[in-house]
Amino acid sequence: MTALKANRQAQANRRTGGGRGLLVGVIGYLCVSLQQPLGWTIPVWGFFAFLLVPCLVGIAVGRSQKTARTTARAFWTAAKSGGTAMGLYTAVHLLLIGGPHSDGANSGQEFLAGLLTLFAFSLIAGFAAGAVSAAVVGVGAKERQS
């Protein structure tokens, strides 16, 4: 492959990296959603939701961004993908379990609780995914330099 073609391929990979990460995240959280957190036990669920799946997202994005000039782009791409996947997972679950016992009077605060949870979890998962992605890109850069 010529250098120009390789460069174009790398650019294409970088553009689609976010989508791949999101797909990996969605699939990962689909697997996690086989049980509620208590079904997994909280420590196990926490490991899956905030470490394992974001790591997979980060690796998927990082590998596509390995030709990026800086790790910042890899970080933010993975953060968006991981955060979005976690956000979807959280939102769907909260909608399913939060509704049945809502008595109407407290629905506003319950909605707020759900919203806070969604944003917090998305931020954490996104950060984790971004860190892993940046690490992957950084390792790749060092290998190229060496």
Partner: protein
């Protein structure tokens, strides 16, 4: 065309046409000898005599002069359209051209050379002595088509000598000319000569082209032998003049052919110099010359110097511009604009300050966010339609008012304990257990089951409307659970009821029990609060005991496999009743359903809190959710305790037979007899008859004892409750009857109308039936069915009213007995 002859003091002169030097008499021989002699010499080789020569242009006669002095020239035709120049050739230039026009061999043609060549005979030598073109029309005689025409007028060994342009000053034009000659099918040999007057004029070395059908090489000029002496030109040096460097020759490849359609010669003449190479541009990135050379000269009067001077003038003007003063002037001008225009401009400036890429990205992200939200809400709504849009789930209904015949509650259905949403409603106001025709009592004939829609508590399930996954309608578990309130599974709170009795599993004390061999209890009586409303008339106490409320004054205590008839005022049991297995089974089933519901509620809240529990520090409702969960878990433990404390009836215990036609079951083990007495199934299985005065075994096996006043009071309260329920049912039935009547009238009216329509329009005529349109015959059939159903329902209500009337009679007969005996 302007003509000017510059006459000098030394008698020399120069001819200018349109400002261009045509010749200077001092050195014109160099030009004309260089133009004519090479062609004549080469042609002379092939034809030593009888040469035919054509001179195109050259009206000054100087080229003619060269031809005439060359040996072997037999005939010369001179074609020039400029009569003025030809006239000068006859006159002012006559001395210079040696009276060439007087020669007999010369024929002068004042006409266009194109036209002349049309029917001309072939020539051995053609001299093209045209002026350098300054206008597009002047370039006609330099085109490929012209040279093609010339080649046809040329003998096979003939030659053409062309006055080209300077290869030094306009190399592009020179080599374009050569390429053009070659494109006409001729071989073209370029050569140049140095003419001092031309050089002084800035024309540089002057170029010529020698063309022929035969290949021409530079060596021809080197070996040129001229039979006539030259006056100024050095013919032997013309060979050197034919030498051009590779770089010069390479220009030709990049140049087009000058044709009539593509007249490219004039622009090349007016704009000499191809674009700089990229290397040169890189070395001088700020050099204006490449830019200036890009400006074409389009008029013969214009020069490159003029263009560069003008451009530099512009550049100098801009350099000298006071930008600050200019901006200030612009701002002052802008200040005079209306405010709204200035605001718009300001907004525009801010908008433009955003990079186009940012704006595009913003728009793209807005679109993505919108799509994501739409997908999320669509997905959520598809999975859980009621939840996604916070519609909630509001159960219940059907309390009290009933448009349909089927009432759902006892006592008119307006009791608090019928599941209304009010919190704090007194449970003591609820109808008693199974004294209701609807939910508890079994009146009328045995085997028919319950009187009303719902069966006796002892016979069937009490529960109605309990969701598998309960939706809380009240906040009892969040706030009032255990705080002097009893809560049902829907979270509705009721005032807690207190029960005082001795309950430790060792039996209960009452005088009758003691008389008949019972033992006194060992424990002191204790007060217990109702904690959980398992059913409309079943309570779970704080210690796990189950209480079936019969009335405000009486209740059944079911614990440790025993059933005790209790009153609210005395801790002693009024009577130990038979532990009917059916009763225990129903209680257990009821508790089990409640337990499942509580478990599901616990699981639901645990899942919810596993997600949002961390927000409890910020949101009070989450803290209340935790409290609610804790209370539910406490209730779950108490229900487990209730299962344990309930116990089982003794082995071999048998359920009571169904009541006979003369009996009306008030509750399990208690029946109202025809004579107004009440039969109670005692602990050992026999029946005791209480008539308000005495309490005797039906078998008459034991002594009759006085009926304890508390027992009378209890039975009296049960009867009062039964009467209240009965009255409520009667009122409800009356309401239903009215509705039935109204409905029947409406149905009959519809039926009559359908019949008329069918008669008038036929059976297939479509009529409105509710929201449908169906044939009249179908409408009649359906309406008739509705009428029949209405009739059946009416009959059922009437039958029920009959039973209620019978019940009233019996209750009315019994009430005085127990009232008096209280």
């Amino acid at each position: 065309m302007s003509l000017y002859i510059d006459e000098r003091d030394d008698a020399s002169f120069a001819l200018y046409l349109d400002g261009d030097l045509q010749f200077d008499s001092r050195d014109e021989a160099i030009y004309h000898e260089s133009l004519a002699l090479p062609a004549l010499c080469l042609a002379h080789r092939h034809r030593p005599a009888g040469l035919r020569v054509l001179i195109c242009g050259g009206g000054d006669g100087l080229a003619l002069r060269e031809c005439l002095r060359f040996p072997g020239v037999a005939h010369v035709d001179l074609v020039d359209y400029d009569a003025e120049v030809v006239g000068l050739g006859h006159t002012q230039f006559a001395a210079l051209n040696k009276l060439a026009f007087e020669d007999a061999r010369v024929r002068v043609h004042i006409e266009d050379a194109w036209n002349f060549l049309a029917g001309a005979k072939p020539y051995d030598v053609v001299l093209c002595d045209f002026t350098v073109p300054r206008k597009p029309e002047d370039t006609r005689v330099f085109t490929r088509e012209w040279y093609a025409l010339l080649s046809k007028a040329l003998t096979p060994d003939g030659l053409i000598a062309i006055n080209a342009v300077s290869p030094q000053r306009v190399p592009e034009a020179f080599w374009c000319l050569r390429r053009t000659v070659k494109a006409a099918g001729l071989s073209a040999l370029p050569y140049r000569a140095c003419i001092p007057s031309f050089r002084a004029q800035g024309y540089g070395a002057w170029g010529f082209l020698l063309a022929s059908h035969r290949p021409l090489t530079q060596s021809l000029l080197h070996s040129l032998e001229c039979p006539v002496p030259t006056r100024q030109a050095d013919i032997s040096q013309l060979g050197r003049g034919a030498g051009f460097s590779k770089a010069e020759r390479s220009l030709e490849r990049r140049l087009p052919v000058h044709t009539l359609e593509n007249g490219c010669l004039l622009p090349l003449l007016l704009n000499p110099g191809l674009p700089q190479s990229e290397q040169e541009a890189a070395q001088h990135p700020y050099d204006l010359d490449p830019l200036l050379r890009s400006i074409p000269i389009l008029h013969a009067s214009h020069t490159r110097l003029m263009v560069e001077t003008l451009a530099k003038q512009v550049v100098g003007t801009m350099s000298g511009l006071d930008l600050k003063r200019l901006v200030d002037a612009v701002l002052r001008r802008a200040a005079a604009l209306p405010q709204d225009v200035r605001n718009e401009l300001t907004r525009l400036r801010e908008f433009l300050s955003l990079s186009p890429m940012q704006l595009q990205m913003f728009g793209a992200w807005c679109g993505r966010l919108f799509v994501a939200l739409v997908l999320l809400m669509t997905l959520a709504n598809a999975i859980a339609p009621d939840n996604a849009f916070a519609k909630g789930s509001f159960g219940g209904g059907g309390h009290g008012s009933s448009a349909s015949v089927g009432h759902s509650s006892f006592g008119g259905g307006r009791s608090v304990s019928s599941g209304s949403r009010s919190t704090g409603g007194s449970f003591s106001g609820s109808p008693g257990f199974s004294s209701s025709a609807r939910t508890g009592g079994s009146f009328g004939n045995s085997g028919k089951g319950s009187f009303g829609r719902s069966s006796s508590f002892g016979r069937g399930s009490i529960l109605s409307g309990r969701a598998a996954s309960p939706t809380f309608r009240g906040s009892g578990f969040r706030s009032s659970y255990g705080n002097g309130h009893a809560t049902d599974l829907e979270g509705v709170s009721y005032s807690s009821r207190s029960f005082l009795y001795c309950g430790s599993g060792g039996g209960h004390y009452h005088s009758y029990s003691v008389v008949h061999g019972g033992t006194r209890p060992m424990d002191a009586p204790q007060m217990h609060q109702s904690l959980f409303v398992a059913a409309k008339d079943m309570l779970v106490l704080d210690n796990g005991d189950v209480v079936i409320t019969l009335s405000d004054a009486a209740y059944l205590l079911v614990t440790n496999g025993t059933v005790a008839l209790m009153n609210s005022k005395n801790p002693d049991p009024l009577l130990m009743l038979y532990p009917d297995p059916a009763l225990f089974e129903n209680i257990r089933q009821q508790l089990d359903e409640q337990h499942v519901g509580v478990g599901q509620a616990i699981a639901s809240r645990q899942d919810w809190l596993s997600w949002v529990g961390w927000t409890s520090a910020m949101l009070p409702t989450v803290t209340e959710d935790r409290k609610e969960l804790n209370n539910l878990q406490d209730l779950d433990r108490r229900l487990n305790a209730a299962f344990e404390r309930l116990g089982n009836p003794p082995a071999g215990a048998l359920a009571a037979p169904p009541p006979t036609a003369e009996e009306v079951e008030l509750f399990i083990g208690c029946r109202l007899l025809v004579n107004g007495a009440i039969a109670l199934r005692e602990e050992k299985g026999g029946w005791l008859d209480a008539n308000g005065t005495t309490l005797a075994s039906e078998q008459k096996s034991g002594p009759s004892l006085p009926c304890p006043p508390l027992l009378n009071a209890a039975l009296y309260s049960v009867l009062v409750k039964a009467e209240a329920d009965r009255a409520g049912n009667v009122a409800s039935n009356q309401h239903d009857m009215e509705l039935q009547k109204t409905e029947l009238d409406s149905l009959r009216a519809d039926l009559a109308e359908y019949v008329n329509l069918q008669r008038d329009n036929g059976s297939d005529y479509e009529v409105d039936y509710g929201t449908e349109q169906i044939p009249a015959s179908d409408a009649i059939r359906r309406t008739q069915n509705d009428v029949d159903q209405n009739s059946q329902e009416t009959q059922r209500i009437q039958s029920e009213n009959s039973h209620l009337a019978l019940l009233k009679a019996r209750i009315d007969a019994a009430l005085p007995r127990y009232k008096a005996g209280k």
